[in-house]
Symmetry: C2
Subunit: 463 residues, 2 copies
């Protein structure tokens, strides 16, 4: 087995040469509206999977579709040599819904490049970072003649809806998925010039609560004053979830949350957190909110939350409609920290809402998808290698960061496949993922391609 | 001037002979989707006005369109003799929006007849009752050779959105509209077999409240725990409007509400109110709600209310979307009782919501259309005549009733034109107006046509 002759410079030269192609391809990928939450986009999910499959087939990968036919995960592998280590890459090609679509400056599936970024739904989360991996593989194959390690990719299409079939896919294909490490790029840098590796993800559980009153919408004049309005009852229930300062008031909500160790606290405190920058990234809010006994980063990364993601109730069209709506419902999601079981926490909130149902209405709940939280050790060979690559490409020592977000598959990969993961995301905190005008910084895309290639070379020398 | 030779029997014979035509015409009228709240139905509003105008022109009425071109009020008059008294008829041909459209058993604008009723949006409120007036005029002209009184009709097309131009129309055309009495059929009987005349209408004011947090929807993982969710803030604000028992907690909300006189209380108590029947009519609710110190009828007719008509916030589509929505808004409406100024009450609620805005979000309000409440004297010639006609047609002494609903034009007619109104509505309490599967009982339609004709005859003998 010969060592790969590729250098950082030769990689950079290939990327420079093919740069326009790399950007155009990403734009084409992002033009496919693969919204996994919406059944209307079934065909687009298949088109999105095919686009990715074609890109990998052209690089000589053997590609298969796994899982449900209407939400296929793309599996691809290219084995160089049984003697070399194997790297699994995980990502997702499905994207978030686009509404409120009227707030996009350009249509979400008509990608445009300006201000050094590509703007489109999925540009960063996670099509951009998935395509960055694919282009790193292309760059390695162009700069050398083979990949430095065996590579397997598993790119699912249900991450934005809770990865319903992902664990089943892992179970079913466990032997095929055997690898030494897993690289996941679905996170962001701590700041614009602060390279970082995330070692902490919150878990997630979703739930819905519906308050039903009259069988039908009632005339608010004919019945108002003697009938409990389900919207009023829902507002009261939702208001009871939080204290005015943001502490969740569901009994038992924080029961199994452990305190941070002094080292963990110190690590958090050492980060260059700026409240002003955060307020700006958070859509220019006038002030922060949340549990007063914890710092913002503690609240974001180490405390569970309960958020209302949407309310559907009564009339929202033009003008007015003087009704007492028949029903009102809300979609909620809780972020979960280590030691908490997400499904149990969802059930706890659901039971709290049901037990506080007023007698004049009916309250029903449904606990949905759940994903466990993740903590990754900073001092392990995979992260040491990844940190060195970041230092080389971005010229700075990366910091250990967390995210309040959730990537349930990362937890599943660790548990089912028993291999270490590195969260090698290069997004930026103001990328507006999940929101209108999502963008991927093209500087990060370019550096990320080289960094992934270099990380594979570094890992080929491990073991 | 010769007395009209028409009898109750000859009217009934004409109605029987033309019954299929009368039902078919009403179905055709109801098939026009004249939803005044929705600008998309502008053309339908014009079609609806033309349908009505054609029907009146065929009866020899001189017809004009008044008010805004896209929401025309239909004015029609037929003067028999300057010596006879003149009756003004008021109604509206615009209808409520139809959503939730999926809850209709048949499409709202494809009228069907079954179970003795015509089902369609507007079937009762108010196209059915307007067409009942038109058919009463046709019946009189067919049974005799002229109308017993001079008749003027003013049928507007903005009632369901607050009658924005109605008062202006009254002012502008005051001389043309001079009349001795006004008949309005836009209310319902107290019960299925309880003929009644309504003497009490609540007023109305609408308002909207919007809570704005981040400029954009935020990722609920990346930001949850440190950002106040506008949906949570809106839920808290809305929950603060009512006590758990339904008393409105806005300071000053009840300030100018006077207590009922012993006679008023006695009249209310004498009505055959059944909580079980009401619960059924109110969409089978498990229990009533509202201010514990007042009876249900007192709460419905004599107490102001504040209802949430709808909430628009975040994601309501399939699956989940883990966001902190950028903003959340609610549509509210308050019912207003005598001595209260509706606009002032709207401003009071708006100020309460704004003054309770948490510092992490921005709260804005907009007070919309307002209409004043109405009280009509029971012992006056117009009502005495109307009560006699009801007794004759329905075979029972009518009761004095109220409604919690609002018909602001009735107040305006009294104030601007200075003439007495009778609320001669023959709807039924379970007609599901403003809700899916609205219907007009055809037995009431038939009797109502004869009753209106008889009332005009009776009024020709007044003075």
């Amino acid at each position: 087995m010969s060592l790969c002759p590729v250098t950082s410079e030769s990689l950079a030269a290939v990327i420079e040469e093919r740069w326009n192609q790399f950007v155009d391809e990403l734009a084409a990928f992002c033009s496919i509206p693969g919204v996994s939450a919406d059944p209307a986009h079934k065909v687009d999910m298949e088109r999105s999977a095919s686009f990715l499959a074609d890109g990998l087939t052209r690089l000589g990968f053997a590609v298969e579709f796994w899982g449900p036919a209407d939400h296929p995960a793309v599996y691809a592998e290219k084995v160089s040599s049984a003697e070399r280590p194997t790297v699994l890459m995980y990502g997702h090609h499905d994207v978030q819904p686009v509404d409120p679509v009227e707030e996009w400056d350009s249509p979400p599936f008509s990608p445009v490049v300006h201000d050094g970024a590509l703007f489109a739904r999925g540009a960063e989360d996670d099509k951009g970072q998935v395509w960055m991996h694919v282009k790193a593989l292309e760059t390695l194959l162009a700069a050398g003649d083979q990949l430095p390690v065996n590579v397997k990719l598993l790119i699912e299409s249900e991450e934005e809806t809770g990865s319903a079939h992902f664990e089943q896919i892992l179970m079913e294909h466990r032997p095929r998925l055997s690898a030494d490490w897993c690289i996941v790029s679905d996170t962001a840098f701590f700041g614009h010039d602060v390279p970082s590796i995330c070692t902490r993800l919150r878990g997630l559980v979703t739930l819905e609560v519906t308050v039903t009153g009259p069988d039908i919408d009632l005339h608010s004049g004919g019945f108002g004053g003697a009938v409990r309005n389900p919207t009023q009852a829902l507002a009261s229930l939702l208001a009871s979830l939080h204290s005015d300062s943001g502490h969740v008031q569901v009994p038992g909500f924080y029961d199994s949350v452990r305190s941070l160790t002094p080292a963990e606290s110190a690590s958090l405190q050492s980060l260059p957190f700026s409240e002003d920058v955060f307020r700006k990234e958070a859509g220019n809010i006038p002030a922060l909110w949340g549990e007063p006994d914890f710092s913002p980063l503690e609240r974001l990364w180490t405390r569970p939350t309960c958020e209302i993601n949407g309310i559907t109730a009564g009339y929202g069209g033009p003008g007015s409609k003087t009704i007492i709506p028949s029903r009102a419902s809300a979609k909620l999601s809780c972020r979960v920290v280590p030691e908490q079981d997400p499904h149990q926490l969802g059930e706890l909130v659901a039971a709290f809402l049901e037990s506080n149902a007023p007698p004049e209405v009916r309250v029903t709940t449904r606990v949905g998808a759940a994903g466990r939280p993740v903590v990754i050790a900073w001092e392990q060979p995979l992260l040491v290698a990844a940190r060195a690559v970041m230092r080389e490409v971005w010229g700075k020592e990366p910091v250990e960061s967390g995210t309040g977000g959730s990537i349930p598959p990362v937890e599943a990969i660790g548990r089912v496949l028993g291999i270490p993961c590195v969260l090698f995301g290069v997004g930026l905190p103001d990328a507006q993922i999940h929101a209108p005008n999502e963008r991927f910084d093209l500087g990060q895309y370019k550096k990320g391609i080289r960094a992934i290639a270099l990380l594979l070379i570094a890992l080929s020398k491990e073991e």
